[in-house]
Each structure stands twice: as structure tokens, then as C-alpha cells.
């Protein structure tokens, strides 16, 4: 429907202007001594390389493998996830919602872009963008279809809008064909999108998860 022009693509407009503006701000704050160059580098390294959806995938794999852990995760996600070493900023209060044959869960933040950083890292662009934020709550099945995920009419879709300081992680259904797999092997199957709820975890016999 869009007859958009160049200036309507927010991710590729005014890049040089923005780049200059950020460089200028950084040099100001460094000169003032308000920020420390090494700390900036450490912050970037953390979120670019250390924290990411591999953390959440390990949580999911363990829940699939250890029934007691799964119980704990669904009862007190914050503690159960901290037990794996994942906690802190933007994951202070966690809640895990389980996909079953009866319900499919989907996470969004319509007001900004709240996201569970310690288990999933920084959110992808589409999660933060207007198309997803506007439609996930009104037309979740249409949104899921755009990700190639068809939810049967006999399954309820449950959308979680992260409007407070709770952060949500979807526990996807364990796919068929994974009997006997190690937690490491299982974790390798679990993609970020399945923990947001826009996709299911594909069976290792079928296609790959994104």
C-alpha cells in the first residue's frame, strides 16, 4: 500500500547527519569527563558479542530436559534464569510463558521496545519497529503469518504486551525428532524468534529456525 519515498525509510535516512551528531555528542561527554572511553567499549562489547539469544536457548533446552527446572522456570522465572547466570539490566523481573497444543504465546512492547536483554540480547529492528508494535496486539495471527507461522483455529493466541518492568520469554514447544538430544544440541535448535513467539522451533528433520 505504500508509495513511500526515500525519506520514509527511517533506517537509511540522514545517516551522515546522525553520525556526525553522535560523534559530536561523544566527544563532548568524553571531554567533560562524564563518560569513560573504555567503559563505552566494554558496554558495546557486552551487547554486541557476549549477550544474545544463545542464553535464552540454553534456558529453553534445560527446561525441555529437566522437568524440575521447567517447573521452577514457570513458577519463578527470575530465579531459575539467574541460576543459569543470566540476570541484570532489562531482565530484572522475568516471566516465562509456555507454548502448548492449546496456546501460542507472542511477546511485544507496543509503547516502546521492552525486551529481555540478559536472555535474548538487544532486540532486532523489526521488534522495535512500528509495523510489529502496531499490529501484534490487534492482528497477531496476521503477524504470525508474515513470519510463516500458521496457528490453527483450535489454538488460542496469547499476546503479552510488556508495559511494565516484567520481561517475557516464550518457552517454545519441543519439536519432534529431538528425543535423546543433549541440552547443547537442543539449544542449537532454538532461535531468537521462537522465544519471542513469532515462530515455532522447527524439527531437526525439517527446516531450520531463524
Amino acid at each position: 500500500m505504500s508509495d513511500s519515498e526515500d525519506h520514509s525509510d527511517p533506517n537509511h535516512s540522514h545517516l551522515s547527519d546522525t553520525d556526525l551528531r553522535v560523534r559530536s555528542l561523544e566527544s563532548l561527554l568524553l571531554e567533560k569527563g562524564m563518560v569513560d572511553a573504555d567503559a563505552l567499549e566494554a558496554l558495546i562489547q557486552t551487547y554486541e558479542h557476549k549477550v544474545g539469544p544463545q542464553n535464552g536457548a540454553r534456558v529453553v533446552a534445560r527446561a525441555w530436559s529437566e522437568p524440575d527446572y521447567k517447573d521452577w522456570l514457570l513458577r519463578d522465572a527470575t530465579a531459575a534464569i539467574a541460576d543459569m547466570g543470566y540476570h541484570g539490566r532489562q531482565g530484572e523481573h522475568m516471566y516465562v510463558v509456555e507454548n502448548t497444543g492449546e496456546v501460542h504465546n507472542l511477546v511485544v512492547c507496543t509503547l516502546c521496545s521492552c525486551y529481555p536483554w540478559p536472555v535474548l540480547g538487544l532486540p532486532p529492528t523489526w521488534y522495535k519497529s512500528a509495523p510489529y508494535r502496531s499490529r501484534a496486539v490487534m492482528d497477531p495471527r496476521g503477524v504470525l503469518r508474515e513470519f510463516g507461522t500458521e496457528i490453527g483455529a483450535d489454538v488460542a493466541v496469547r499476546v503479552w504486551d510488556s508495559t511494565a518492568e516484567l520481561r517475557y520469554l516464550v518457552l517454545p514447544e519441543r519439536p519432534e525428532g529431538t528425543e535423546g538430544m543433549s541440552q547443547e544440541e537442543l539449544a542449537a535448535l532454538v532461535g531468537r524468534n521462537s522465544m519471542i513467539g513469532v515462530e515455532k522451533v522447527a524439527s531437526p528433520n525439517g527446516g531450520a529456525a531463524r
Partner: protein, 224 residues
């Protein structure tokens, strides 16, 4: 505020562009904006609700045209100036006109503290023994208020009825906390479950539900 950030239920914003193998950052300046925002937060001059309001409180045409990190940049510049940490002139010139006050020097985030600070996170709960206004299972209605200040009750649930599904405990009330120091009050936060048809009418799937986290201050008992 009923702003462009309150997107739930808007049409016409286009298809979802899910990039395959998306990098964490698309431009170096995005890295810098993230890091500068987190590092500046160490000054302790604002809380998360003030910073959310700084980002959302843009002219709607600009909010919609800006990318996520462009909005973070707009928010950071605003927070720095409004908190008095830097002046608008300093931002315009990119040069410091005055050093950081002595009492703030010890707050500067050092590289060796980064891991501990991130791992600790923030504290959004309030330990006070505040009673819950609503019980799990109770039908509630979201107040049909339209404050001009920050609120975490999205417009699409205002005036709508749901059921309290879970009591998350006592948290700082974001709508008040966004007003600055001295507005840190605790309230219970609930996961309130709304039938999709209550929110969007009969064209929505009858089985579908939307859960929204809402504070006591957003809710009233549902009319019977």
C-alpha cells in the same frame, strides 16, 4: 500522553521487515548511542520512566520517521540538557564549556564496573508492604484517563474490561515516577487478561487473549 509511540491498533505502518541474520548494530553510531545512553545513566539524574518519556515525547511525525536509535539519541540529548548535565550550547558546539562537578566524578562508569552494573540491573520493586487493590480472578476495567504526561496504560485498553490473572508484586508506579524525584510510589502490578474481542470487536478470534501489565492506578473494579 496519547502519542505516536502508543502504537497498538494502528493501521498503515507497512509490512514487517524481518531481516535474516541481522547484525546487532547496522551503523557504528548506533553502538555509540547505546553506550553513551547507558554510561550517562550512571550519573543518576533520571530514571527509566523519565528516559522513556524523553524518547516518546517527540512531535509524532518525527517519532515515526526516526529509527530506534535515532529516538534514543533525541532522548539522550534531551535528558542531558533537562537534567543540567550539559547545556544546549555545549551540544550544539560539541565542546565542553565547564568540567563535570566534583560530586559527580565518582559516579562516572568505569570499564571495570561495567559487568557488575549490568549484572545487577535496576531496582523497580518497592519493599513496602502495600496491599493489593485487586485479587487474582477479579474483573477490572482500565480507567479511561488521557493524561498529558507519561503513562504505561496503552490507549487500546483504556475503558476496556479484563480479568486479573497474576499479581506480579509491588513496583514503582511508572506514570508518577516519570515526573522526577519524589514521585517514587509503590503499587501492585497485575497481568490483566483481555479477550481479543473486548479490545477489537467481533472480527478478532474468539479464543485469543491479550495480557497487559497494569498498575493499581490504572484500574477500577469492572462494572457488574
Amino acid at each position: 500522553m496519547n502519542g505516536a509511540h502508543d502504537m497498538g491498533g494502528m493501521h498503515g505502518l507497512g509490512p514487517i521487515d524481518a531481516e535474516i541474520d541481522e547484525p546487532v548494530f547496522h551503523h557504528d553510531w548506533e553502538r555509540r548511542v547505546l553506550a553513551l545512553t547507558l554510561a550517562s545513566g550512571a550519573m543518576g539524574k533520571w530514571n527509566i520512566d523519565i528516559s522513556r518519556h524523553a524518547r516518546e515525547n517527540q512531535p509524532p511525525a518525527e517519532y515515526l520517521a526516526n529509527s530506534y536509535y535515532q529516538t534514543w539519541l533525541v532522548g539522550l540529548e534531551k535528558l542531558l540538557v533537562e537534567s543540567g548535565l550539559v547545556t544546549a550550547d555545549e551540544i550544539a558546539n560539541g565542546r565542553s564549556a565547564a568540567p563535570l562537578p566534583d560530586d559527580l566524578e565518582e559516579r562516572v562508569l568505569k570499564a571495570e564496573a561495567v559487568e557488575a552494573v549490568l549484572s545487577r540491573g535496576d531496582n523497580f520493586t518497592v519493599e513496602d508492604d502495600i496491599p493489593a487493590k485487586f485479587a487474582v480472578g477479579e474483573p477490572v476495567r482500565v480507567l479511561n484517563n488521557h493524561p498529558t504526561h507519561h503513562t504505561r496504560a496503552p490507549r487500546y485498553v483504556r475503558g476496556k474490561c479484563g480479568v486479573v490473572e497474576r499479581d506480579h508484586g509491588v513496583f514503582v508506579f511508572a506514570d508518577e515516577n516519570s515526573k522526577g524525584p519524589g514521585h517514587r510510589v509503590g503499587q501492585h502490578v497485575y497481568s490483566v487478561c483481555f479477550p481479543a474481542q473486548e479490545l477489537w470487536g467481533p472480527d478478532a478470534a474468539a479464543a485469543d487473549r491479550i495480557n497487559v501489565d497494569l498498575w493499581d492506578g490504572h484500574l477500577e473494579a469492572a462494572p457488574s
